[in-house]
Symmetry: C2
Subunit: 466 residues, 2 copies
C-alpha cells in the first residue's frame, strides 16, 4: 500500500467525535422525499451536502430536477489523463418515520444508545439508510484530502434526493448530466454487510415496480343497513382482487410474471449454501417461525433471486375508534413487485394492470397509478475492482467479504449500467437488524467508523490495481 | 277524532320556526357516541333532551349507564288505570361525520338549503338520524300539552345515547329500569318513509353482529426489499381471509350462516312486488347499475329479508402520500353482518370467529373483537295499533302507508320485545336519499313538519282504539 494509508486511517480514528457531530447535523433534517410537505427539508439536506463537500475540498453544487435536486461534486477539474475516475453514489433522502408512536425518541433528533449485540448505535430516521452510509465515504474523502492534500484516484460524488420514492427524476438527470458524472466505475454505499463482523460486496439486486390501486364503488359512503346487500362494496372488490394475486404455493398469478426468469444455477445455489445463512434466526428476529414465501426456494433464494408482489398499504372505510356501519365509496392499496434479472418492468406493469382491471366488477371504477419501475441487475464477480474491494475489506475486517445478493432496489445501479454502461460496486455497512424503513432505525457505530476506514482502504486499493 | 286534534295541528303549523330553532340547537352538539373523545358532548346532548322534555311538561331525568346516559321522561306520575301507556323511543347520539372534507358545510353547524326534488332540507350530522326524527314526536307532545294541557294517552319517553355504537349499555339498563319504562306499546321513530310523499310503517328489521379483526405478522414494520419473500405480510393474510367470506354467488361462506332462515313466503314476495320498488333508480342514485348482492333475490329482498357480511373498514401499512416499501406488522378490518329472523347472533359470532381463525397462517396473530350483536325481528301487521297508525298516516299524507321492512338495525326493538315482551311500532319520516352515516346528511323539512303532525294524529288514534 502507499505510504499514505496509515496516516489517513489514523486521521479517521482521531476525528471520530467530529465525524459523529457531522452525521447528527444531517440526521436532524427531515428530508422525506415522498411527501411534498417536506420539499424544503429535502432542499436543506441537499445544501448541507454541498457545503460539506466544499469544506472537504470538492467543487460541489446542486443540479435541479423536476423533483428534489441532485448533489454533484468533483475533486477539481475533470482530468481524463488521470485514471481511474470513480463515481461515489449515495442518497440524502429518507423514508417517512411513521408510525411515530413506536419511536423511543423523536426520529429526527438523533441520539446514541447501547444495544445488546450491537454496542453503541445511532438512533434516527436515516441513521443507516442512507445518511450514515454516505457519511462513511465523505469521512474517508475528508481524511485523504486532509492528510495527503489530494486523492490517489479521481473521484466524483453524486448524492440523490429521491431514492426512497423511486428516483422519478433520475432518467432525465442522466440524459442531461450523464456525460458529467460518467466514470470508469461507480461505488455505491447503500447496502448491508453479511453480519456485524463480516463485510460484504453486493453483486445483484432486485428491481422494483410500484403501483397504487384505487377502487370506487358507490358515489358516496353508504349506510350498511340501508344499502347492504345490493350495494357494491369496494373493499370487497379490493380484497377479492388482491387475494387472487398469489396462489396457494406463494407464487404470483399475474400472467407472464415468471417468463424470462432463469432458475438459480447449481453453482450459485452452492455459493449460497456456503454462506450458511441462518434462516431460522433471520425469521425469529422478526417474530416469525416459517418462511411465508414462494414454495421450493430457500429464504435466501426468495430474498435475492425470486420476485415478489407485496402489499405495502391498504385503506378504506372507517378506521377510527369503535365501529361505523358504512359501505365506503372508495378503497385503495399500495403494492410493489420486486423484480429479478429477466423481468421487464414495463411488461410487468402492463400485465399487472390488465390483471387487476379484468377482475373489477362492472360498476367498480379502477384507478391504477404506477409510481416506480426499475430493472434488477446482477454483476460478474470476476473483475479487478471486486478483487480490490475484497482485499481492502479483508484487511480492515480481518475476514473475507461475502459475495452477496440483495432483495432491495437501488434504482441508480440499473440506470448507470444501462444508460452509461458503467460497472458498479456495492459496498455498504448496514445490518439486517437496523430497522430501516421502520421505527427506531439505527446504525452501528462500528459500521460508521470501520466503514469510513474501509473506504479509505478501497480508494487506496483501486489506485494500485486499476 | 276528538275535538282537540285540529287545534293541536294548528299549533304545530304556527310554531314551525320555533321548532326548527330547537332542532338546530341539538344538532349543534357533536354527540358522537362511538368515539370516547366526545363523551362530554354526548352528556350535553342528553341534558338538552332532559331540559326540553321538562319544558314540555314531562318529569325528565338522566339514568346513568356504563356508557352514555339514558334520558327517561314521564308525563306525570305512572297511572296504571290510565290506558294505554305508550313508550316513545329515539336516540340522541350520532355517527362520526368523517370524511370531513366531503361536507359542503361543517357537520355540526346546521343550515337550510334547497335540494331538487326534496325542497328545503336541514343539512347536518344527525339532521335525520336521529335528532330530526325524535324531534317530530317531541314537537307533537309539546303541541298536545300546550293546547290541551294533557295527553290523551299515557306516555313515557326514552332517548338513548349509544344507538350508533351498538347499544352496549342497553341490556343492563333494561334489567335495572325495565319496570320503569315497560309499557303496552313502544313507538319508535328511527326509520324511513316509503318515499317523500308516501308514509311507511316498518314491521321487520335486520339484526346485526359487528366485529373487528386485527392480524399481526412480523413483530415490526419491515423493509419490503430486505424481507420481501420470506416475511409474512398481514395485509396478504387479511385479504385472503376476507375474500373467502363470500362465494361467486354473493353468498356468505361462513358455515351455518343461512341455517334456520326461512325463504320469503310467496305472499310476502307478492306484497313486495306490489310496492313496485324501482331498483334501477335505487342503484343509479348511488352510482351503480346492477345489484352486487346475493344472486336469486330482488334488491328489496336482499335489503329486507337476506343477511349480509359487509366490510366497513380496512387498514394496514403505509397510507400517506406517495409510496413506502414496507411490510407492515399489523393489518385490520371492521366488519358487520346484518341478520334476519332465525339467525342467532351468538352462533353467527362464534362461527365467524372460527372461520377467520382457521384461515390465519401459523405465524399470524389474530385478535377478534365483537362490538355489537342484536337479533332481527318481524312483527305481525294484523294488530289494532298498526291499523291506528295506518289510519293516522293516511289522513296526514293522503295516501295509504306502505307496510315495509328495513335493512338497518334498531337494537332497542329486539330488546324491548324479548326482554319486556313489548310490541313495537316503527314509524319514521327519513328518506333513502338522506345520506345518513355519510357526508351532507339531510332531513326534509316536509318530513320534520308533517312528521310532527303525523305523531299528533297517531296519539289521537291510539287514544280511541286501544
Amino acid at each position: 500500500m502507499t505510504g499514505h494509508l496509515p496516516a489517513v486511517l489514523k486521521a479517521l480514528d482521531s476525528s471520530r467525535d467530529a465525524a459523529l457531530k457531522r452525521l447528527f447535523e444531517v440526521l436532524r433534517i427531515p428530508s422525506i422525499s415522498t411527501d411534498p410537505a417536506y420539499k424544503q427539508s429535502c432542499k436543506a439536506a441537499a445544501e448541507w451536502c454541498v457545503n460539506t463537500l466544499r469544506e472537504i475540498g470538492f467543487d460541489a453544487g446542486l443540479r435541479e430536477t423536476a423533483g428534489h435536486p441532485m448533489v454533484v461534486a468533483h475533486d477539481g477539474p475533470r482530468n481524463i489523463g488521470r485514471k481511474p475516475h470513480v463515481l461515489l453514489y449515495g442518497h440524502y433522502d429518507v423514508q417517512p418515520p411513521d408510525p411515530l408512536d413506536l419511536w423511543v425518541s423523536p426520529p429526527f433528533e438523533p441520539r446514541l444508545r447501547v444495544e445488546p449485540g450491537n454496542g453503541e448505535v445511532v438512533l434516527a430516521r436515516g441513521a443507516e439508510d442512507s445518511k450514515g452510509q454516505f457519511s462513511t465515504f465523505l469521512e474517508a474523502l475528508r481524511a485523504w484530502k486532509q492528510v495527503v492534500g489530494e486523492l490517489p484516484i479521481q473521484i466524483t460524488v453524486l448524492l440523490e434526493g429521491e431514492e426512497e420514492c423511486g428516483s422519478p427524476s433520475l432518467p432525465d438527470f442522466l440524459t442531461q448530466y450523464g456525460k458529467e458524472i460518467s466514470c470508469d466505475l461507480a461505488l455505491i454505499c447503500d447496502t448491508v454487510q453479511w453480519d456485524k463482523d463480516t463485510p460484504g460486496i453486493t453483486l445483484s439486486m432486485r428491481g422494483i415496480v410500484g403501483a397504487e390501486v384505487v377502487l370506487t364503488g358507490p358515489n358516496r359512503d353508504l349506510h350498511s343497513g340501508q344499502y347492504g346487500g345490493p350495494a357494491l362494496n369496494p373493499i370487497h372488490s379490493l380484497v377479492h382482487i388482491l387475494s387472487s394475486l398469489h396462489d396457494s404455493e406463494g407464487r404470483v398469478t399475474v400472467p407472464g410474471f415468471y417468463d424470462h426468469i432463469s432458475e438459480p444455477s447449481s453453482d450459485r445455489r452452492q455459493q449460497l449454501k456456503a454462506l450458511h445463512f441462518d434462516s431460522a434466526a433471520f425469521l425469529s428476529d422478526i417474530g416469525l417461525s416459517q418462511s411465508a414465501g414462494e414454495k421450493g426456494y430457500s429464504a435466501l433464494e426468495q430474498l435475492w433471486m425470486r420476485p415478489t408482489c407485496e402489499f405495502n398499504g391498504i385503506t378504506g372505510g372507517y378506521q377510527g375508534v369503535g365501529s361505523k356501519t358504512v359501505i365506503p365509496s372508495k378503497a385503495s392499496a399500495k403494492l410493489t413487485c420486486r423484480l429479478v434479472p429477466g423481468q421487464d418492468p414495463d411488461e410487468i406493469v402492463a400485465s399487472l394492470e390488465r390483471f387487476i382491471r379484468s377482475r373489477a366488477p362492472r360498476d367498480c371504477g379502477v384507478e391504477f397509478r404506477v409510481n416506480q419501475r426499475h430493472r434488477a441487475f446482477a454483476f460478474d464477480h470476476n473483475t479487478p475492482h471486486v478483487a480490490a474491494a475484497a482485499k481492502a475489506l479483508q484487511e480492515e475486517w480481518g475476514r473475507p467479504a461475502a459475495l452477496m445478493g440483495a432483495g432491495g432496489s437501488v434504482p441508480i445501479v440499473a440506470s448507470l449500467n444501462q444508460k452509461l454502461g458503467m460497472n458498479c460496486l456495492l459496498v455498504g455497512f448496514g445490518l439486517d437488524d437496523s430497522r430501516i424503513h421502520s421505527p427506531n432505525e439505527k446504525y452501528n457505530l462500528t459500521s460508521f467508523y470501520k466503514g469510513a476506514r474501509s473506504w479509505a482502504r478501497i480508494i487506496d486499493q483501486l489506485a494500485r490495481i486499476m
